[in-house]
């Protein structure tokens, strides 16, 4: 899932302090699961904003709303949500960067009588896994050319600090990476996994340079499934 964390309150406040009707919209997907932008976090941020404005003797209305998925028209096209957006001067999106951009495009496509400004409340951080309650770690950089089949299901592009395809480097020590002692050496994990699978020979051939063209290159990547289109 996409993992994000909330921006400092002062940064969020500085984005909205000149407005008098604020709508905070949460997202019910990834950022709910990583506890950064779900219903609870919307209520917390809205409460903080109300307190900050009341403390500064400013009468500001702060509304709350949720969309199950801010990156999808289907879940944004909700009349109740759209009415709240129409009534607001500014919208704070607690979704990832995808959700914020999609909300901007979608609201401005549907609501034509005034421009809708959407600002982010989160910093979108990585695509990762939930390792334990309250712990998330990056697992995929979306390079567009998956090598996991060759590396025992452990991604050297994401988990090796140098993204080496022919590792490990000299910085691997007792299974840990030289960048810090908390970080596992991805190549140590790969070698151990391949050993367990009896497939250690797989890392003998030297991997050529990685082709980064399917990665972030030449503008936004796009997938079109013609069989799904009418």
């Amino acid at each position: 899932m996409i993992v994000a964390e909330r921006k400092p309150f002062s940064e969020i406040l500085s984005m909205v302090e000149d407005y008098s009707k604020i709508l905070v919209i949460g997202c019910g997907s990834c950022v709910t699961i990583c506890m950064a932008g779900g219903e609870e976090e919307v209520k917390l941020l809205a409460s903080q904003l109300r307190m900050a404005f009341r403390k500064n003797k400013r009468g500001v209305e702060v509304e709350e709303a949720m969309a199950l998925r801010q990156c999808d028209d289907e879940y944004m096209n909700d009349p109740v949500l759209l009415d709240k957006v129409r009534a607001a001067d500014i919208v704070i999106s607690m979704a990832c960067g995808v959700g914020v951009q999609h909300a901007t495009t979608f609201f401005n496509r549907i609501i034509l009588d005034k421009p809708i400004k959407v600002v982010p409340a989160l910093n979108t951080t990585f695509m990762g896994a939930n390792l334990d309650v309250g712990i998330w770690e990056e697992r995929c950089v979306g390079c567009g050319d998956c090598v996991l089949e060759k590396t025992g299901g452990i991604c050297p592009v994401t988990r090796c600090a140098k993204s080496l395809l022919n590792g490990p480097c000299g910085g691997s020590s007792n299974g840990k990476c030289e960048i810090n002692k908390e970080t596992d050496c991805a190549w140590h994990l790969i070698v151990e996994r391949l050993k367990a699978l009896g497939e250690l020979d797989r890392i003998k051939p030297v991997e050529p340079y990685k082709d980064w063209r399917p990665s972030h290159n030449g503008g936004p990547r796009r997938i079109v499934r013609e069989d799904m289109r009418i």
Binding site: P8, F9, E40, K43, L44, S47, Q48, M51, A52, K55
Partner: protein, 136 residues
């Protein structure tokens, strides 16, 4: 001028804090009438939002009182509560409200006098802070 009488909300766990409150009442221990007690099954159920909402609604202070560490009826509820109070404190601080308006404390079931002294201490601390800036 009338002396400032703080309004304090206390989330009390059913198994220890509330029992201690009962004992305090039965043994006629004196403590300030500033505290409104809210019974919760375990302090682990108190969410950060409850604490923020209490302050937002005008409470001058919020107490969360659970069992002693290691004695929680639900094993770890009090540890959870303590962390949630810490998080709520930092969220309040971001807004510019004193973090000392929130407090986590613990008391054993039979210790009515401890309960009364927590109430008195908190009342004094909140008096020193003054009224909640949101309702001035």
């Amino acid at each position: 001028m009338k002396e400032f009488e703080p309004r304090i909300v206390a989330f009390c766990c059913h198994y220890c804090a509330l029992a201690a409150a009962d004992i305090a009442g039965k043994t006629d221990l004196q403590f300030p009438p500033t505290v409104r007690v809210i019974r919760v099954l375990c302090t682990g159920k108190v969410e950060v939002l409850h604490l923020l909402k209490a302050i937002e609604s005008g409470a001058d202070g919020v107490l969360v009182i659970g069992c002693k560490f290691g004695e929680c009826y639900f094993k770890e509820g009090n540890f959870r509560a303590q962390k949630k109070v810490e998080r709520a404190k930092s969220l309040l601080e971001e807004v510019g409200i004193e973090r000392d308006r929130l407090r986590y404390d613990f008391v054993a079931g039979p210790c009515g006098n401890d309960f009364a002294s927590i109430m008195s201490t908190m009342t004094e601390e909140v008096k020193a802070l003054g009224p909640n800036p949101l309702r001035v």
